[in-house]
Symmetry: C2
Subunit: 147 residues, 2 copies
Amino acid sequence: MLSVMRLALEEAMQAGARGEIPVGAVVTDAAGRVVAAAGNEVEQRQDPTAHAEMLVLRMAAQSLGNRRLEDCTLTVTLEPCAMCAQAAAHARIGRIVFGAYDPKSGGVEHGARIFRLAQTHHKAEIIGGLNERECADLLQGFFLERR
Amino acid sequence: MLSVMRLALEEAMQAGARGEIPVGAVVTDAAGRVVAAAGNEVEQRQDPTAHAEMLVLRMAAQSLGNRRLEDCTLTVTLEPCAMCAQAAAHARIGRIVFGAYDPKSGGVEHGARIFRLAQTHHKAEIIGGLNERECADLLQGFFLERR
């Protein structure tokens, strides 16, 4: 799990180097194989939906030829927002592993709390705070530099 | 506003004819010009994120060369889910007009209620229930046929 987060962190760092908010995400299959990896591309694409999680969910579904990712894990450096959390629920993702918590924009443990809504019948396994410090430091460093 | 909903309904009907859940969406600019129009493409693309709203938000941002759609209106035949509502919030959409209410999966007036969260600083104007009957009948007809 840590080596997958390491890959997500590398994607996040590459995104930061491109001037994007440094968030990276990976989808792995049941055997732990990497199916998709990407960093945030909102600025580059001028696409408000191009969060790292959305990109890897789409890439994984394409790659597996199946819009349902029940046996897959989404690993991401930051708590997903409501858009990404709901997208993962639509994909019936098996598990979500994230690094830093995001009280400001997170939609898993904060705000919309997508997987705790009575509406959300799909219940993913949620693991938050993996490599939390490193994931948070990366974001904080990025915003400090931009001030 | 009604003629734009008429276009969204046409997109919804075309989506239904392709075997998709019949939902259609349109983005118009401040002058009321159509910037993007699409129906649901989840099945066709095997993409769990390919809701009509996501497609038109992306198309509109590309077309306008700007990921912020502050002066734009998103018109959609069904209340957007949390994914689409949050995507519209990320895009800072000016207004959302929708047809049928969706207690089961809606994220604007139900469930996550994205625009009522303290987290959501962007406040879009929301108009629900336009052509509600026709939008709802289209969906109901689709699901009745499939039983």
